[in-house]
Every structure is written in structure tokens, then in C-alpha cells.
């Protein structure tokens, strides 16, 4: 990919000092590299305790079951007494996306998609919004595209069913109750009547 400043940025008509400012930011972005994805355990911000309370560290998911149980009990008592940090508490985070994933067409398919994943609510349901372009409309009756989780080299769990129009990108919203980690991947499959579920994979996670 070409990452030259002139290739990425419309710099026509910029004053020299403005041009220099943008080039500096451009260089900083290249030097910094991509920010890491937040792990699922850190997606939701901790609840701040009141000013007079002490703070305890959240238990990490990799600890032993016994330790986790002890820490969970400790936290439960602490919360009852006045509130400490609570791990993975769902907060009203509005529409703040916690992860954005890109998908592209499989094989010769030229489609592209972005998947915006929101924070889980208190019941573990997550909003996801798919924007896709370049997929051909399906002509056959009852034919649809399926957004599915990709695990162990196969499409496993259904996230939602959608169709696309002939013009422009299509945006659809779903809700899923699945635990989503940094390693979670999705595919889009094309399912036609008479074809065995989950059909043919037409898009994969980049």
C-alpha cells in the first residue's frame, strides 16, 4: 500500500506552514503504528469508587478458578460495603464502538464491509452494525446473505440475515449475545434455497 503523504492527503492549496503541520502528523501516525485492540476484559470502563473508598485491582481472566472465586467473593463483599471496581460491568456507553472489523470479498469477490461492535448490555447482548458494499443482489426468492461467526475453520453461529440493493452500501444492525474477543472472526455466506446451510463463504474478516 502507498503510504506517501501526497497519496493519502488532499494537500492542494495548503499554505506551507499548514502543509508542514499535516506532514508532521502524517509522520507521527506512521511512527506510532496502529493502536492495539483492547481485550474484552477492558472494553467496559471500571466504575469509579467514591472518593473516600480504596481501590482494588480487577481480577484478570487468566487466573486460576480458585483465585477467581476468592477474588469474586472479595469483590462482592467490597461492593456490598460501599463499592469497589467491578469487572466487566456494563455501563451506559451510548453508541461508542468497542471494535471495528473489516471484511473483504473471498476469491474474486470485490466486496468490502466494516463491522462496528458495540459494548454489551447488562444481559450480555451486543449491538453490531454491518456496512457492506460490492455484494451483488441475490435474485432468487428466499436467497439471503448470512453474517456468521467463523470458528475452527468453519461458519458456526448466525449473527444476522440481510439482503443488499443494487446501489450503494447497505447498512444493517443486529444484536448478538456472544462473547467477542480480539480473535473473533466473521464471514458472510450466501445461502440459496436448496443449498446446505451455512452456504458459500463470500466475505471473510481481514
Amino acid at each position: 500500500m502507498n503510504r506517501d503523504f501526497e497519496h493519502l492527503v488532499a494537500s492542494d492549496g495548503l499554505a506551507p506552514e499548514e502543509d508542514a503541520r499535516l506532514r508532521r502528523v502524517h509522520e507521527l501516525l506512521l511512527a506510532a503504528g496502529a493502536p492495539p485492540e483492547l481485550p474484552a476484559t477492558l472494553e467496559n470502563q471500571p466504575r469509579a469508587p467514591s472518593a473516600n473508598e480504596n481501590v482494588v485491582t480487577l481480577p484478570a481472566k487468566r487466573r486460576s478458578p480458585v483465585l477467581v472465586a476468592l477474588l469474586a467473593a472479595t469483590i462482592a463483599v467490597a461492593c456490598f460495603a460501599g463499592g469497589y471496581f467491578v469487572a466487566n460491568q456494563s455501563r451506559g456507553a451510548g453508541n461508542h464502538d468497542v471494535r471495528v472489523v473489516s471484511l473483504q470479498g473471498a476469491g474474486q469477490q470485490k466486496s468490502l464491509a466494516s463491522l462496528h461492535i458495540g459494548p454489551a448490555d447488562s444481559n450480555g447482548n451486543r449491538p453490531i452494525r454491518l456496512t457492506v458494499t460490492g455484494l451483488p443482489p441475490l435474485a432468487r426468492e428466499y436467497a439471503s446473505y448470512y453474517l456468521m461467526l467463523w470458528q475452527n475453520h468453519k461458519a458456526t453461529l448466525l449473527c444476522g440475515i440481510f439482503e443488499v440493493g443494487a446501489d450503494g452500501p447497505t447498512t444493517v444492525s443486529f444484536s448478538v449475545p456472544y462473547a467477542i474477543t480480539n480473535g473473533t472472526r466473521w464471514v458472510v455466506t450466501e445461502v440459496n434455497p436448496g443449498v446446505r446451510f451455512p452456504g458459500r463463504v463470500v466475505m471473510t474478516t481481514i
Partner: protein, 177 residues
């Protein structure tokens, strides 16, 4: 948009929404810094939690007149990460025969600060601009493919990238004031 310093001061006064905003803004930079220093995701997660616990405890000690908020947060994060790295059991290593091509301590520190600074500023961009920057700089997509994905003309991709860079420049320069 509130500055980091304002959010820290409000956190020090017990404002939970300010603390939440700080978390949203700096969780990823802290995690990135911790991951690069510790090389272990679990320890990095612990360091993030300890960092924000310290932020909550210490926010009232922050004095805006001594400097902007980002370096203050960076110091807290670095201390939490150092504490984590001390707890790590170091394995004996063999002394190499040839000089290492890896960055020295000064270069690593500068690189870490750059990442911190830039990633923190990115979190303050509107979602639309943040996504565009991510696609333009760190995805494998061409400009034409990005335009197709976002459903906008190629020229608009470039002008929006310019707008996003201008906003980033304002944020980055503002923090240095």
C-alpha cells in the same frame, strides 16, 4: 471537548463521568504502552487496571499549572507498568556476540511517548475520522477500496483525511502547550 487536565481535575473532585471519559480516551494508549513494555497481554491488562486505580486515587494531587494532563497520565501509567515488570521473574539470558540492532533505551522511550501521544489524540477524534485514519494508515486497503467501503468518492476520502490530520494537529499541539 474537555482537555485531559480538566478531566483529571474533575476526577479529583469525584466526577465519575470525567473518570469514564479519561478511561475511554486513554485505555488503549495505556494498554499499548504496557504491552510494548511487558510483552504479555495478561500483565498489560493488570497494568491498565492499576493505572486507572491510581488515576482515581491520585487525581486530586494533579496541578494544572505544573503541566498538561497527558504527561501526568503517562507517568502514572509508566509507574504501574514498572511495578508490573518488577514482579516478573527474569530468566537468565546469554550475552550476544554482536551488537543488537534493537532500539536503545532512549529511542524506546521516545517511541513509547510518540505512540502514547498519537494514540491518545486518536481517541479524541470523531468516530468517523478515527475509522478513516485507521483504514488509510493501517489497513491493507487502497484509497479506492476505502472509498468503496465508506461509500464516498475517492476525493472525499482524501479531503476527510486532511480534515482528520488537521484536527489531530490541533489536539497534539494543544497538549504541548
Amino acid at each position: 471537548m474537555c482537555s485531559d487536565g480538566e478531566l483529571i481535575e474533575r476526577t479529583g473532585a469525584g466526577d465519575r463521568s470525567a473518570f469514564d471519559k479519561l478511561y475511554r480516551r486513554y485505555a488503549r494508549p495505556v494498554f499499548g504502552l504496557a504491552l510494548s513494555r511487558l510483552g504479555d497481554r495478561g500483565r498489560a491488562e493488570d497494568a491498565v487496571q492499576e493505572t486507572f486505580a491510581s488515576v482515581w486515587r491520585s487525581a486530586r494531587t494533579y496541578k494544572a499549572e505544573r503541566g498538561p494532563g497527558a504527561p501526568w497520565l503517562y507517568t502514572i501509567a509508566r509507574n504501574a507498568i514498572v511495578d508490573r515488570s518488577r514482579a516478573r521473574t527474569e530468566l537468565p539470558v546469554e550475552v550476544p556476540d554482536e551488537p543488537s540492532l534493537e532500539l536503545g533505551p532512549d529511542e524506546r522511550a521516545e517511541q513509547a511517548w510518540t505512540r502514547w501521544h498519537v494514540h491518545g489524540a486518536l481517541e479524541r477524534l470523531p468516530e468517523r475520522e478515527r475509522e478513516l485514519i485507521s483504514l488509510a494508515y493501517w489497513s491493507e486497503l487502497s484509497q479506492t477500496e476505502i472509498a468503496a467501503q465508506l461509500g464516498i468518492p475517492l476525493g472525499t476520502v482524501k479531503t476527510r483525511t486532511r480534515s482528520a490530520l488537521l484536527r489531530l494537529a490541533d489536539i497534539l499541539e494543544g497538549e504541548l502547550e
